[in-house]
Symmetry: C2
Amino acid sequence: MNIALRKQKILAAVIENYIATGEPIGSKTLQNTEGLNVSSATIRNELADLTVKGFLTQPHTSAGRVPTETGYRYYVDNLMTVEEPQERVRRYIEARINGEGDAPEHILSAAADVISELCGTAALSSTPSGEDTRVHRIRFVQTGRYTSMVVLITSTGMVKSRLFRCDFNITPEMLNVFDRALNEKLAGQPLSLVNQPFAQSFAASFGELGLLMPDMLISVLGACKEASGTNVYASGTTKILYRSDMSLSSARSVLELLSDNSRREKLMQTVPDGTNIYIGRENASPELRQSALATTRYYIEGSPAGALALIGTLRTDYPNAVSILEYTAKVVGEQIGELISTRR
Amino acid sequence: MNIALRKQKILAAVIENYIATGEPIGSKTLQNTEGLNVSSATIRNELADLTVKGFLTQPHTSAGRVPTETGYRYYVDNLMTVEEPQERVRRYIEARINGEGDAPEHILSAAADVISELCGTAALSSTPSGEDTRVHRIRFVQTGRYTSMVVLITSTGMVKSRLFRCDFNITPEMLNVFDRALNEKLAGQPLSLVNQPFAQSFAASFGELGLLMPDMLISVLGACKEASGTNVYASGTTKILYRSDMSLSSARSVLELLSDNSRREKLMQTVPDGTNIYIGRENASPELRQSALATTRYYIEGSPAGALALIGTLRTDYPNAVSILEYTAKVVGEQIGELISTRR
DNA sequence: AATTAGCACTCTTGGGCTTAGAGTGCTAAT
DNA sequence: ATTAGCACTCTAAGCCCAAGAGTGCTAATT
């Protein structure tokens, strides 16, 4: 649907004013809009029309206008202008992300922190999903008489480790056998191949010796599963509670969503390419039907990796959110890419 | 302060009724108390006295009585009876804790979950503090051309690992040198010894070769620091938001306290032996001045290890809380003890 | 001396009413 | 097409009132 220029200007003014103040916006307030030199009566006519068309509503007859979800959607799609963050903000983001040393986990947790801080909302970040990740190498370290650690190194440079315990004394020779056999079979294979059936056939192929392996294999499977799964970091979740424009009950359900790891993961796993904004009922998760979700992905060496996201109320400063999200994604992607390249 | 038997009975009845219902308790309601065969007028006299003595208050003149913090304190110290949880509850706790395999971390996270669930409050658990833990063994695993992993095994069976990256190609021989030298120096030493000065003198003692070590040593220090620190798991934190008897603003500050790792750690590090209850203003943390904190410790092989805790409103079912906390602590201690003993 | 019945008193809660103010929609004039 | 003007609507806040709950006190009872 297309609408005339002046209507667009008025719609944008209502939305930006409303986002800034949280109060319904009336015709008189809008007269102060720069470049809009018409009377309040004219504005009222336009407002009435925008209301009929579904972009605005009134909380009650004698109140100003408030954007509807349709209104926000039109604004996000057609009216808002996204700029790169200010120099100082860019510097700040870089400093926070780059100061996190060698672990992608820390970078991502810092990314969530910095987004939450700069947008005043809850923020999420997910580690690169390991869907097309492969096993690079598997190593064993003995940690006790009955216990050892398996260390999985993936093709993307992630390292995951697991402990396992056996009913018998572990010997270095035994670990050597495990090591050689496993790496022969698995090196270069996709993580998804390392599943229950594989473990069974692997153990079976060793005959009697295979009976000693189940604990070890469970750990290998566990490590592969963990490496192929996503980890999600959340930051600033309690900020939602300070927003008067979200009902307490939906703030609670958002908080519950965000404190449940598996639900967070589910949310972050479906993030598509590019930057996307989901407003209110556009959200697939029922818990977010009163919120706005903005997502973007970061790219490692050119291919899509994990995602960054931000959860606010409908009254979110969308241009700023997109700007911060995209810039952070860029910095995160670069930084992790660099890390990984030096790990080869 | 000692008070007569009938007064005690009435005080206990008020508190238990109030905990159950959340409504101020009046003299008529109390007439139904078992074993209290007096008129409401008599009860009113007693109530008036308990109010003067500071155990009860009235929200307003024409309302029933509500316990004060002093009242709760007297109840907790003198009146309540703590019983072991029901058979089914005991079984349930055991099932949840024992189903968590080989990692103390998982056991503790499950402990927080189960406490939160059974008490309907937020719950915390901390890993054993490593204050008097010693280095058992340090091992190295090469994970890339420039990267390796250091694996620290402590005397308590904890395993911590860290990645490090060097500017040069790592060779197995080099790792062997690191391994032998470090273990010779550190095996059996307390973790607290592994600090900055140690790293410097260690590197210095190798002369030129020492220049290759800083990255490796930073990781060793990091692993030791992590192993000697406490990790805190939180569960059910959003439950606080559903309690109408806590103001939104203090619920928020409690939530913030609980979502900040370092503040959580600080809270859990000061937990004394045995089971303790801190009611309202008795709490050291200002964020908890409107809450009740119940803590207990678990013991591994007889010596105090980490802690379990529960955070609710003043209107917490204290007997149940203590009962669940103590039983969970017992199961957690046993289970971790078993784990550790088999790791030797 | 302790207990109890009775009653006046206090205070909250909720409903209904009123008023001030904000913002609208419509009409008639420009 | 725009605008001034005005009647209209609705909320928020203040006030009053009645009902109800629970008390504290007094005087009678055990």
